[in-house]
Symmetry: C2
């Protein structure tokens, strides 16, 4: 609630002060394009920290040490800001697809390449916007555009999976569900990465891919060990499954 700045920012008092971050980088930021990108990046970082609705345009402006109308000079609306953040992030993933397009490699390796870049994009500053932004916050046209891009990526992954199953590099599976599982695990990076940055995006992606490729079930070198079906377990499960999972609803919690 009291997240607004309490006193006026000391910088940006006299217009175009040379000490301001905004002004000092002015030499490098030639033209509107570059400044606009700076606005979008600042917005992405704020959204990442506090979420879309808890970030005001004053916050973004303050981050750049300018005022709100300046932001509006480069961007038409808050919606559009979020939209631009999304596009910037998703473009990284699309580039990964383009790069692997013509490669003469088993599909599983192409998939691995794509997913590694996917994971890195999710750990980037635009990860939040790609994964967590709600399309109800956008205009209809933007929402449609984003859905199309997401669908393109989804179907790209499914296609790679199908090709992998065909060329024998991927274990037979349902491409749709597998794509959901893969994308879900990677998208989720955007949720926890900011809190646990002990690994780089590339390292996380590599670790995830190892997990997905190996699977949980042990890979015996020839002989499958462990993993006995365990008939007792199955019956015990069946007995329990009946009335669980809709029991309590944890009423009357104490936290305020």
């Amino acid at each position: 609630m009291n997240r607004r700045r309490s006193n006026p920012p000391p910088a940006a008092r006299q217009p175009a002060a040379k000490s301001s971050l905004w002004a000092s980088s002015r030499e490098r930021l030639r033209g509107r394009e570059l400044k606009r990108d700076a606005v979008v990046r600042a917005a992405a970082r704020e959204f990442n920290r506090k979420g879309y609705h808890n970030t005001s345009l004053d916050d973004i402006a303050a981050r750049l040490e300018v005022t709100k109308p300046t932001v509006y000079y480069y961007v038409t609306s808050k919606k559009q800001l979020l939209f631009q953040c999304f596009l910037a992030g998703v473009e990284q993933i699309r580039a990964a697809f383009r790069d692997t397009r013509g490669l003469q490699v088993p599909a599983r390796e192409r998939l691995r390449d794509v997913l590694r870049h996917y994971g890195e994009a999710m750990a980037s500053e635009f990860g939040w916007c790609m994964a967590r932004a709600e399309d109800q916050d956008l205009s209809f046209a933007m929402s449609r555009h984003i859905k199309a891009l997401k669908s393109e990526i989804d179907h790209g992954i499914r296609r790679l999976i199908r090709e992998g199953v065909q060329d024998g590099s991927i274990h037979p599976c349902d491409p749709k569900m597998t794509a959901f599982a893969l994308a879900g695990a990677l998208n989720w990076i955007a949720y926890w990465y900011r809190e646990d940055q002990s690994l780089t995006g590339a390292q996380i992606a590599a670790a995830f891919l190892a997990i997905f490729e190996n699977g949980l079930r042990p890979r015996g070198n020839g002989a499958q060990k462990a993993a006995r079906p365990s008939r007792t377990a199955r019956t015990a499960r069946a007995a329990r499954t009946a009335g669980a999972a809709t029991r309590g609803s944890a009423r009357r919690a104490t936290a305020r």
Copy 2:
């Protein structure tokens, strides 16, 4: 923006009309507890549809065919409503852990049980609140409470993984990363399930578990087929990797 009801709701004009859903179900809704649960459920459904910030308390009230002060009669704040939704959902998952606690089965099977209930919970009406709710929208105490519960679940999964590696039912892996990958894939159900309900939550969870257990790499019956390391691919990748992934940023998009 114009999502508010434009004309006053025809029902609930004369107070406690017997035709209102709220009033007609009054016989069944004995006591505050049950009504309170109804409020929480209605909130969960609205949050699920439109997100937390795009749902007003008037919306929730309208859904129940009552007015806003009535909602406040059962709940102290919007924050608390979200908090309650979260608790209701997470309790399903905790129940799953409790149920498998004492089972004398390989850990991979216990993990499977837990994750199946986890997936079902994510496909439930509380899935959105568990997965997508932002803790910036809660009070500090609530946020801390929720973090503790999430951490409990996370560490429960890690523990099952560790046990599985020890008893040989799970392929050796990093428990932390594996838990992240599993939870991520399942949490993501809350994002797409409402748009694609062709499967039940249980079916999705089962499909995911098959994927996770098998892994992408083909499981030869003894002999590994395919999956040649392909040295040419590796070098080709290395060459590309250098300058990719931070290229374009998709400026000047057209959608409004």
